[in-house]
Symmetry: C2
Subunit: 509 residues, 2 copies
């Protein structure tokens, strides 16, 4: 015990019913002997110490004895969980010494190149919640202006090593990933059962929607439970060759989740961060072969083939260094995939494709087959070039559907019920013409306004795609909502801009 | 009223007894209809709306109905004050749209140069607490790599215009400023009464210590009240020609205080930010002539004359553009000024100099006279070159002391009592020798460990300065503390490194 510990008043740990997201927050009384108003005040960073454990947290000060008394220290839910010292124990609080690795962040801001060790130290501190939001922002922005290829490798490596690292008994473990941005693009839920039915291992973890109306995890949750931890995941994959679960419970590359939580509100988006983010998760997941889907289109994340090419090279470079076989394909990102946007509608599309139903969306089927074909070719026992026909065989025969049912049964039923929203309205064409463009960003936003993904039954069902002819007043799509207020908001948003461009006899309008 | 407002549940505003420093924080119940967990969760940024008023805030979620019920929204103290809608009113809460000016921050991060309007918009949003900490960090770091001279001018201008702007009836309003870092350097408290006694207007606002053991405001508070607002400041200056108050109550360049609150924890330090920070405050304070003290020394903020020269040019360039006459002098920053470090000890030094006491520190007296001489020369009625002798006359005659008493009386008594700490220990020389260097950073840290500035009576009294001969065991300085635990901490710190370098017969040790 250092002299500093003996000198500081001991406070009794208690829980306070405050959910502070990712941030560790502690609350002390304004009358606390431990409070030194000129050393730390509201929103200062402080260090908690109890036995040999320490925790960095943001401080709130209260005048409400019912919340936290003068001899107590209140820990918010995440802080209490991470500190792992039970309520009632005694702790000291002192001004936080910023993590030493912050010196590397400052060096990066000054324009220096960081060593592997320096980057590893930053990620280690990040993953242990020792960085405040502003310190995370400092690292991201310092790295945004430039990052050497050596730094990118070190970052990916450190991130992959900072959390759970899965291993699999099979020599070939395949995965697919799409960089996102295209509404309705739920190929994973078709690809996984095809590949798993073939016998390849495909332990798929997916994200929930953050800025989109549905993530794969949200959509799968319409059909099955997705909150599955690492151990349970292993037994599901052992039984079914694959799974479609939410990555949040598996703790793969937790530093990535933390970095993303700051990148999003700042709308920071660099190629290097994207590559480190995706590949660190895949390395931690124990994948050996990764197929990357880069949609290109005017309202996609990538708007040109050249941009996609640069990103592809970066993915290949990093993948190669870590022995992860990365294959990158560019796909048509000009418009949504499938008929539905929103968890329930997208789940219906997926099941229609797997069930070979006549109304199944052909584009989702074709894209999924193409992706599955690439993955199947990783099977050394499969004859080169036979991937596509094997994928189609597994889909057409019903083997993929059967595999999906097996996966759904293994993951178990979802907690909530998900039904399509019963308040709907159609959005009609303003004139005769041919659909020449669909704004993916606009439809994503509209589906969110309609309530997706919070309301899983909210969303959009498209009737028309690019190249389709429409008459004035003919419905382009139907919007489903679960709530009268969201119905009104979505109707107002759609009438302001419905996201469709029609080519008429007098040009686009 | 937009459709969004009608659609959102109304929550009753209440106060929650949480002090969250600068940050606006609101609390809603997990059972609130307004909470949409996948749209915003703990620590999300949200926008509050009531009548035509809006407020951006950070969200906490609670399960404690006693704190905030399901139909309520709790506002922390700063949020409630800034929102200016009384408790009991109804408000809506929605995910925050980040301030539009954030697009300029992202442009800066991408390496673009910002227009005057873009910078003004950033500062306007900053000063109105619309930026989160991470957004502030983004702006600072984006600007840290480079800032054009045009951007620096626009930043200074926007900052100066964002808060209170003082005006004075006199044509000449003088001010002095030191960039800090040198312990004991309390020249303002000697210079202000000399200059005011002469009849020049010198409305001095000072800062409290943030990372040092004493700011001028902390030291003046030993003698008088310093929490003075703008109106009262004007009447004090009208009566006494000068004042020495804390700037925090006057609201000069509030964006500067906000930027500093993020710069400090990140230890960001750029010349441009320093210039914009200091000059925006002086422009807002209505100064016409500014004397800048740049101490140079191995453990000072500036370690070479070349560095000081670059900074001087930047101060002169910006000052000229705004019609503020800036004079920059470099001073000896190799060691502390005066005998004392810490508010009470420094206040004693100041009063000893003003009282012409025999034990008064000669270096503080000489430096103060030199600075006052420069300021007095701004008086058009004073003969060129007569500044120094006039300053000495005012000091030696007791006129400056009399003026200081007048200022102290006008500011009124300080609330607390400040006495020298009664737990003291001496730190002795480890060997015979001559003092060749004193580490300012180390002594600052030691004085803080001893309790300064929280305990105004804590600090260090120096017995030896550079060039002084000492015998082994002879005291170099005495450390004063007010608390046994701080005594022990300081003793341990001083024995680890006492901050003195002695040249003995066998070289430095």
């Amino acid at each position: 015990m250092s002299p500093a510990d003996t000198a500081r008043p001991q406070l009794k740990i208690r829980s306070v019913a405050l959910d502070t997201g990712r941030e560790n927050v502690v609350v002390i009384s304004r009358r606390s002997r431990a409070l030194r108003p000129e050393v730390f005040s509201g929103f200062s960073r402080v260090e908690l110490r109890c036995n040999s454990r320490t925790l960095l947290a943001t401080l709130l000060i209260t005048d409400d004895d019912a919340l936290v008394g003068p001899d107590e220290i209140g820990l918010s839910e995440p802080a209490l969980r991470r500190f792992a010292e039970p309520a009632g124990m005694l702790a000291t609080v002192s001004p936080a010494t910023p993590p030493e690795s912050l010196e590397a962040v400052r060096a990066k801001i000054r324009g220096e190149t960081l060593s592997d060790e320096a980057i590893a130290a930053v990620i280690e501190d990040l993953a242990h919640y020792r960085y405040s939001d502003m310190e995370i922002a400092a690292f991201l922005i310092g790295s945004a202006s430039f990052m050497t290829s050596g730094e990118l490798l070190a970052l990916t490596h450190a991130m992959a090593n900072a959390g759970t690292q899965l291993t699999w008994p099979e020599p070939v473990v395949v995965d697919k990933h799409c960089i996102g941005g295209i509404p309705g693009n739920r190929t994973s839920m078709v690809v996984v059962p095809i590949v798993a039915a073939h016998g390849l291992t495909i332990p798929k973890t997916s994200s929930r929607a953050i800025t989109s109306p549905a993530g794969t995890a949200d959509t799968m949750e319409v059909l099955a439970r997705v909150n599955v931890g690492a151990e349970e995941m292993k037994s599901i994959v052992a039984a079914c060759n694959g799974c479609v679960i939410w990555g949040g419970h598996v703790n793969l590359s937790p530093a990535d989740d933390i970095l993303i939580s700051v990148e999003r509100p700042l709308s920071l988006d660099t190629r290097e961060q994207m590559v480190a983010s995706i590949l660190s998760k895949k390395l931690a997941a124990g994948s050996t072969h990764l197929l990357l889907d880069l949609p290109v289109g005017p309202t996609a994340k990538l708007t040109s083939g050249a941009e996609a090419m640069r990103l592809r090279k970066l993915f290949e470079f990093v993948g190669d260094r870590f022995g992860l076989k990365v294959e990158v394909i560019t796909t048509d990102g000009r418009q949504p995939i499938g008929h539905g946007i929103g968890p329930v509608l997208e789940a219906r599309d997926v099941m229609a494709v797997l069930g070979n139903e006549p109304q199944a969306p052909a584009d989702l089927r074709e894209k999924s087959l193409r992706l599955a074909a690439h993955l199947l070719e990783y099977d050394p026992k499969l004859r080169g070039g036979a991937g596509y026909s094997r994928a189609r065989e597994l889909l057409d025969s019903g083997a993929a559907l059967k595999q999906m049912q097996k996966i759904i049964d293994a993951q178990g039923p979802s907690a909530g019920r998900s039904e399509l929203g019963d308040l709907a309205f159609d959005v009609g064409a303003a004139s005769d013409g041919v659909v020449s463009a669909i704004d993916c960003l606009r439809l994503n936003r509209l589906a969110r306004t309609a309530g997706a993904p919070v309301n899983k039954g909210a969303g959009i069902r498209l009737y028309k795609k690019i190249g389709d002819r429409v008459d004035q007043g003919e419905p382009l799509y139907r919007v489903f909502t679960c709530d009268p207020s969201e119905h009104d908001l979505a109707a107002a948003a759609a009438s302001a801009n419905n996201g469709y461009v029609l080519d008429g006899p007098n040009g686009p309008h």
